[in-house]
Amino acid sequence: MNALKRVIIFGATSAIAEQTARQLIAQGASLYCIGRNPHKLEAMLADLKVRAGSNQRVDGTAADLTDSSRHEALIAGAEAFLGGMDGVLIAHGTLPDQQACQQEVATMRREIETNALSVLSLLTLLANRLEPQGRGVIAVISSVAGDRGRQSNYVYGAAKGMVSLFAQGLRNRLAKSNVDVVTIKPGFVDTPMTAEFDKSGPLWAKPEQIAAGIIKAMQKGKGEVYLPWFWWGIMLIIKHIPEAIFKRLSL
């Protein structure tokens, strides 16, 4: 069981991360939040400070995480503020325009950079800090889209697939150091990132549901979790459709 008293959140202003931050605050954690948009981050930090108890600490800084040269300093700053770290949530990402990625290599590379390489950079640095500490948990938000390539968003899928596979290896490496690596695979979540979709179906989940699932998975030190849970079944089927059939489907 991982106690989440001091947590660092990357991509903190995303809807899922903000809800996770609120719930962690309600459970007594101190937080350091990193987000891209300074306005959004400031609003979020003010809100968390109002909600926090008197001995909980909350702060953060704005940073563009595609600039991986800053990662080391960001982690060091966060750890110094919190006086150590028990958990980290990596939640930043974008939902690429698949058509644009197909048309232009530069766009495709940028999306891979944001959704995969910047995450891998953080994971590498965090792993090296937590390994000697001998405890802690890193959770990274991947996606069900990373389980199988589909024509509708395979650039995003490939990036998330890379994150999932990397985290799997890291989990294997850190197991003997008692550090948990949790891969979160949310299904459809009703957030501003998915503003353009019709959300009337039963598959859409609220960010606060996903947040509660993330915290539970981090505390329990789970390996991979589908959120909500039923995506496990859906993806099991999707992963097992023979490629000869799958390639003809319009998914």
Binding site: K40, A43, D47, V50, R51, D198, S200
Partner: protein
């Protein structure tokens, strides 16, 4: 996304677009068909929060606190924060909302836009009296901060302004100190309407909160019988009882209204005979202020067709006669509601140009939607209200005729100058066009 509904689930209208705001700095995108209208947590009734020709801006994700001063009891938050979220934060610090409606699921923006009131109106006025400042976004890009001491003309228009003056982004509210989360509540039975007036006058002089529940089906000498609940925040004491909230809900839409002549008569007769506590008792603030919030989706008991809420205010002079006439009309139609609520307003003038609360007596009822039959009854009630110089509550209306709106709100034309040209609601189109 399925079209948002108001709390009485009537009317069912589709907006041309729905857009969820996620940040208070965010301007609604230009691509959204105009007119715009903010939709909070869907706790108003009727169509003040609905749009048919334009777009709804969902504000529930503007749910961040901005600052809380636990010494002065001042809270500033985004407009989509609910009253319940504020209470959860401030009650343990010894603060309470100075004015609160019968649900804590309303948003701050909705509470201001409808200038809602509570059982203590005779002491503290309505919600708008406790707003220190708010910020308005106008569709021409202007941002106006207003309050009782700054840009008053915008403040008067926006309090009770039905969301028409622009998009409210945040508000700052003055809270009221309390000693603990409990209420000291007294209940008294009264045999008829005449007894109510006497009892209520007495109670108002001594209690900050008063409200009466009426059996609207009782006739003859029992007409207007009911129970008067008087309350005050409990004094500091060491022996507070434990309190735990339950989680009941109405799980599905019954195919027809569960509120019918038979169930009503039974419920009302039982409710009237409930054990009363004339000596007073401690009650937690949640069941006292928000009894219906304990049953999630209670509005479903009226079935898929929804229901009409009817809330009027009658000026002091004709109040006794007019309320009697209203009850007679309702009883003779055999229609009525579980919760007929009677309350007298105080004399504190409302700040909003279009505010509902004004000196007089207010009566609120729910009627299951039985089509023309119900509408005919409501039209009969309308004529009594109009004759008495009264008004209906826009925040609870799905059908009032334009003429009744205009006679109840003679300042409506002066108000229209402050409407954002790119904002409107189905309600406003209905009563002004």
């Amino acid at each position: 996304m399925s079209a948002p509904l108001s709390w009485n689930r009537l009317p069912r209208v589709e907006p041309r677009a729905i857009y969820r705001l996620s940040h208070r700095w965010e301007a609604p995108p230009d691509r959204l068909p105009r007119p715009l209208l903010a939709y909070g947590n869907g706790r108003s009734y009727g169509d003040v929060c609905l749009s048919e020709r334009g777009s709804l801006l969902l504000t529930r994700s503007l749910d961040r606190f901005i600052a809380f001063d636990p010494v002065q009891g001042i809270i500033r938050c985004e407009a989509g924060v609910t009253l319940g979220e504020i209470l959860a934060l401030v009650v343990p610090h010894g603060w309470f909302l100075a004015s609160t409606p019968g649900t804590r699921l309303a948003t701050v923006g909705g509470a201001i836009a409808n200038d809602v009131h509570g059982k203590n109106h005779h002491e503290v006025g309505s919600f708008g009296h406790h707003v220190r400042a708010l910020e308005l976004w106008r569709s021409d890009g202007r941002v106006i901060e207003c309050g009782p001491d700054q840009n008053q003309e915008w403040f008067r228009a926006t309090v009770g302004g039905l969301g028409l003056t622009g998009l409210m982004r945040w508000a700052e509210i003055q809270l009221m100190p309390i000693q603990n989360p409990w209420m000291w509540v007294q209940s008294q039975r009264f045999a008829n309407l005449e007894a109510f007036w006497l009892l209520n006058r007495e109670a108002e002089a001594h209690w900050p909160y008063t409200v009466a529940w009426i059996d609207c089906l009782a006739r003859g000498r029992a007409r207007g019988r009911g129970i008067l609940l008087s309350g005050q925040h409990a004094a500091a004491q060491t022996d507070l009882p434990a309190f735990k909230t339950g989680g009941k809900r109405v799980p599905f839409d019954p195919p027809f209204s569960l509120v019918n002549r038979l169930s009503l008569r039974g419920f009302n007769a039982l409710y009237y005979r409930q054990p009363i506590k004339p000596q007073g008792a401690l009650t937690h603030y949640l069941p006292y202020f928000y009894p219906l919030d304990a049953i999630q989706d209670w509005n479903r008991i009226y079935g898929r067709k929804g229901f009409y809420q009817y809330q009027c205010v009658i000026p002091p002079e004709p109040a006794e006669l007019a309320i009697a006439a209203l009850l007679d009309t309702i009883a003779s139609h055999g229609e009525g509601s579980f919760l007929a609520v009677l309350k007298t307003f105080g004399n504190k003038p409302s700040l909003g140009t279009l505010s509902f609360a004004r000196p007089g007596t207010t009566l609120a009822l729910d009627f299951p939607n039985r089509g023309d039959k119900t509408l005919r009854l409501l039209a009969a009630l309308d004529s009594i209200v109009k004759e008495a110089g009264g008004a209906l509550y826009p925040g609870k209306d799905a059908r009032m005729p334009a003429s009744l709106f205009r006679s109840g709100y003679p300042q409506w034309q002066a108000f229209s100058e402050y409407i954002d040209p790119n904002f409107s609601s189905r309600f406003w189109q209905r009563v002004t066009q």
